[in-house]
Amino acid sequence: CALAWVYGVSRHRRGAPTGSTSNWIRGQSSLAQQPLHTARKPRKGEHKWAAVVGLEIHAQISSNSKLFSGSQVCFAAPPNSLVSFFDASLPGTLPVLNRRCVEAAVMTGLALNCHINKKSLFDRKHYFYADLPAGYQITQQRLPIAVNGSLTYGICVGKRQSQVTTRTVRVKQIQLEQDSGKSLHDDLRSQTLVDLNRAGVGLLELVLEPDLSCGEEAATAVRELQLILQALGTSQANMAEGQLRVDANVSVHHPGEPLGVRTEVKNLNSIRFLAKAIDYEIQRQIKELENGGEILNETRSFDYKLGCTVPMRDKEGKQDYRFMPEPNLPPLLLYDATSLPAGADSQQVINIDQIRERLPELPSVTRERLVQQYEMLPEHSFTLLNEVGLLEFFQNVIKETRAEPKKVTSWVLNTFLGYLKQQNLAVRESPVTASALAELLDLLDSKAISSSAAKQVFEELWKHEGKTPTQIVSEKKLELMQDQEALEQLCHSVMQGHPQVVMDVKKGNPRAINRLIGLVRKATLSRADPAVIKAILEKQLSCHGSCPPA
């Protein structure tokens, strides 16, 4: 996605938040090597393409009860068992706002650097659908609870994707709204079955400005948002369970020219498909335009099996939602330390400052802390947080081992994660426990085994046969030779057996010493530390063979 960035930088600078432009410039130059957004090689003088991606994200609020009613929020339950009279839109029922949902919205707004509107309003958005019993959804169209924030994420750049640079996407607004129920279409009998369990569950709609330019950026930004929501506890943000839904608005244009017609891509229920769908759509639009076609302002769905976007059923022209103020709800007023009315019932007022003080540690702060505390590189901290359960695993190993943090980091991120990825396993499915790895690292740290022996032990542990590292070491006789004398004898006899190599060493051939070390190692069945062997050999060589071992 380099190309979009070559032009993207100037576009972003116009309204970009400060502090991140320098990173973008760095990112730009290192990205210049990557492939461009073109369908074919551009002819001389021809314009290149830039893509613009805007995301609309719906996050289900993690709460016990629904946004405007006291029925339960729960994932799998018997149909229509979690439905109150209000959720079923029976006449005479009224919405009653859930305090927890408001707090969740404020927390999320604060975590995303938004301005929290002390007064926000509720509206009705009208449309007819089987799973919307009232015929309207209560939302916040005119004046949402939070506006003008930013979401910062880290993207991998560099030759081997090893460096991390930060980018920012602006948050236009965050609003509270109701979720709809679920419809199941039975085409055979031409009927639609409706389950209202989900109807009325609180949602946070987050609208991001179109500051993203490719699938990877969108995926990374959404992943970071997931981590933030999970750290805050405001949403479990599990895409597979529908707790986080993302719609993407995609358009392409030639830099310097006006933005192109955009299409909306829906039905994206994993981060991986989000990236794929956006990139496919960008390429589709470029190809279409380069072939002289035009882009329709339509809604498309991502077809997983075909790996492409397809038009959804055409909506009747432009939807007219006939927004009107929700007549049953007064404005939502929030307070801070200075404006808090005296003697107010604490259950009836929301203090933004108090919520800010109680915010839990955000992922960016956690990463910073890891870098400081364990002297790891920023990219390591990103990997630790990105992989579900990995941070906890890492911290458990650290707790139980004597080995230094850098060693733990290296083993967890390289060896452990490498095995997981190879077999496509999640951390919680790992056959190796944190305790086992900690024990292994202790053995390594105390120099009981060599690092190559440790790798062997790890491979054995992965087989999950119930043996501890110590048991494996003794069974496979992987202990390092501790007998210094025996080792010295071995060195001496190897040198005696290979006079030519010894001559080469004395002649000053730098590779010859390694050959000697290798020979000694073989003789010890790899049970000696090469560094120790080298020291002994060098000592013996310097004696010019005139001081045989004792």
Partner: protein
């Protein structure tokens, strides 16, 4: 669905602040076009079955337009008569639900604890019948 469009009396966008008769319509005839009637019928699922119904609509709009007689320049609009009321905040406890049987009794058709929606309720063809 029937309506007779005499001439284009409406220039203002739907839902615009000024309502259906606008300063842009010099004739001020207050006629509602067939296009608008169709649009309203789709959105609100009402049936303007006769010329009389459309005429009644036009009269209702004209009646409401008398609001324009009031000068509101510089006055903050009132969005809700509840604007001075306190919005009550409920604690996040589960106190309702678990009444599927009762709710399903209201439905004309039911399949195994699911409401059955009228056929085609979710597709555009229904709106174009």
């Amino acid at each position: 669905m029937w309506a007779r469009a005499v001439w284009l009396g409406l220039r203002a966008p739907l839902g615009g602040r000024r309502g259906f008769t606008s300063k842009a319509d010099p004739q001020g005839s207050g006629r509602v076009t067939a296009e608008v009637i169709e649009h309203l019928e789709r959105l609100a699922l009402v049936d303007f079955g006769s010329r009389e119904a459309v005429a009644r609509l036009e009269k209702a709009i004209a009646f409401a337009d008398r609001l324009h007689a009031v000068h509101t320049d510089g006055v903050e609009p009132m969005e809700s008569v509840l604007e001075d009321r306190c919005l009550y905040l409920r604690s996040d406890n589960v106190v309702e639900g678990n009444c599927a049987e009762e709710l399903l009794q209201n439905s004309h058709r039911v399949v195994e604890e699911y409401f059955v929606a009228p056929p085609g309720m979710c597709c555009p063809e229904w709106f174009n019948r």
